[in-house]
């Protein structure tokens, strides 16, 4: 157990998973199941028309980076993602706190927040474009509309989870509402918030990409859309690969901040 969780071993295991996935993908998309084995015709397990092949995808990705064409698009998408994440998370935190502390506000607006959360963003895209134009802001809005709700619900719950004794102690120590927020609610809701941030990093990116996909002139979503239009699955998968790698990087940053802000927690005893 202790051996298994050491850094290099862990990394090796992670690599193993990657190799396995890519291996399956490679075989499925390059080896034809001979005719008569399962069905009449010989066929691919993962038809390269829909799945491309890993070699082609890596080649394309490498080329995109080597020639540098992708940096511009990546930059735009990451900017949108970062903005969507920051604005959505900030909004979720602020409104979440506000709702949690003002019972009536929460009770009155509760159904409307839930309604808003259920609106399909894809349909709203034209309205975002109308209000915010075609620049990055309409994409940011789409990302915000995903991130906000995830963070909001978690912060709202996190604030309500504060230990009543600790809260009473804080009040008896004379804290004002603002000081309660800073010294009690905020640190107590932090774990909740970070849990939601891990989810919402991904959603911020999804929002940005889908926004680009629905209408734009640049960005990874735009590139994916272009590739889809000409059946260039390799291009589609290469775009998604780049997305996936970058979300890991952003998430790592979130984790570093999280560990910084939650040093005080007891380390949980290991499962086994």
């Amino acid at each position: 157990m202790r051996l298994l969780s050491s850094r290099p071993v862990l990394f090796a295991l992670q690599l193993l998973v990657a190799v396995a996935i890519i291996g399956i993908w490679h075989i499925g998309s390059t080896w034809k199941v001979p005719a008569g084995l399962i069905s009449q015709k010989s066929f691919f397990l993962l038809d390269p028309f829909f799945f491309s092949t890993p070699v082609a995808v890596f080649e394309r990705t490498w080329k995109d980076f080597a020639t540098g064409v992708i940096w511009y698009h990546l930059g735009i998408t990451l900017l949108e993602t970062a903005l969507a994440f920051a604005i959505g998370a900030a909004g979720g935190v602020v409104i979440g706190f506000w709702f949690a502390r003002r019972r009536i506000v929460a009770a009155v607006f509760d159904p409307y927040v839930k309604m808003a959360n259920a609106l399909p963003r894809v349909v709203l895209a034209p309205i975002f474009a109308l209000w915010l134009g075609l620049g990055i802001w309409s994409k940011v809005a789409l990302g915000v509309s995903l991130v906000f709700f995830i963070v909001f619900f978690n912060v709202y719950q996190g604030v309500k989870e504060v230990s009543p004794t600790v809260l009473n102690n804080a009040r008896m120590l004379g804290m004002s509402e603002r000081q309660l927020l800073r010294h009690v609610y905020w640190p107590s809701a932090l774990t909740w918030m970070f849990s939601s941030l891990h989810t919402s990093v991904g959603f911020a990116l999804v929002g940005a990409v889908v926004g680009e996909y629905l209408g734009s002139a640049a960005g990874l979503g735009y590139r994916i859309h272009q590739a889809e239009g000409v059946f260039d699955v390799t291009g589609v998968f290469s775009g998604m690969l780049v997305l996936a790698v970058f979300v890991i990087l952003i998430d790592a940053v979130v984790t570093v901040i999280e560990n910084r802000l939650t040093v005080w927690r007891p380390t949980v005893p290991a499962g086994h």
Binding site: P126, A129, L134, E228, D232
Partner: protein
Amino acid sequence: AAQGAPALAQKAEKPTLTLGVGGKPLLYYLPLTIAERNGYFKEEGLDVTINDFGGGAKSLQALIGGSIDAVTGAYEHTIRMQAKGQDIVSVIELGRYPGIVLVVQKDKAAKYKSVADLKGAKVGVTAPGSSTNFFVNFLLAKQGLKPDDVSYIGVGGGASAVAQMKRGEIDAMANLDPVITKVESDGDAVVLADTRTEEGNQKIFGGANPAAVLYLKRDFVAANPVTTQKLTNAFYKSLKWLEKASPEDVAKVVPEEYLLGDKTLYLAAVKASKPTYSITGVIPEIGMKNALNMLVEFDPELKSATIDLPKTFDGTFVKKASETIK
């Protein structure tokens, strides 16, 4: 490319433009890509940003919302918008045939030999309410069938459509290139009705039926005649170039990415689509009527509206372009 056009003498009122399109790599919009890649916009002194949208409807909405200046989109939008009180005008025809093809699943070809057999079939269209949907409605009506006699399934215009044809989930499908060329070349489908060719259109519509056009808000055209002229010129040049070009020529001009999926497929699709591109840039009267008939038949909103067809197309700009560009 031609030069010495008098329009060049004047400066465009709005040299920096945003142009919308719903799926730029689609062959339906090939003239746009040609105009862009061959530098016709620059020649005209225009700086055009092309914004790609998830679909034609979204680019139209962006035009009306004011975030873009011009759209390359379906001609029928100009008719619909008239019914909705939005003043939109097309200035040059880019595609003279819709390019929509109705195919049936290979294994079911024996069962569905003609449109009349489709009763009770599952028919894939790019989207409910789209022109592919209306096209099938129209074909059915000619056989005395109603839209309710088949069940429509939206399958999109990309890989999903191919997937459904392969899976055999749908019996028939109305779609555009390159989906059609793909399913044809893979041997998954058999053509029932084809509007990519002259004779096909003759048979189905009794003449042309405009597809892609360049349309703008009438206000914009009135306020920026020179800009509009220059835009029209660029597209006109593009049509002239396409008239003479071979599929290989096209492949050389379009962005490399367009070929990355499958070059032979692309060439085949271009070849199949070539007849659909407009030659004169002018929408013939019969074309307008055909388009309107198709819509009126199945859209209750349009049925009650009175459409002033000549208002949908302003031919003065193409005329001027054809005079100056040889």
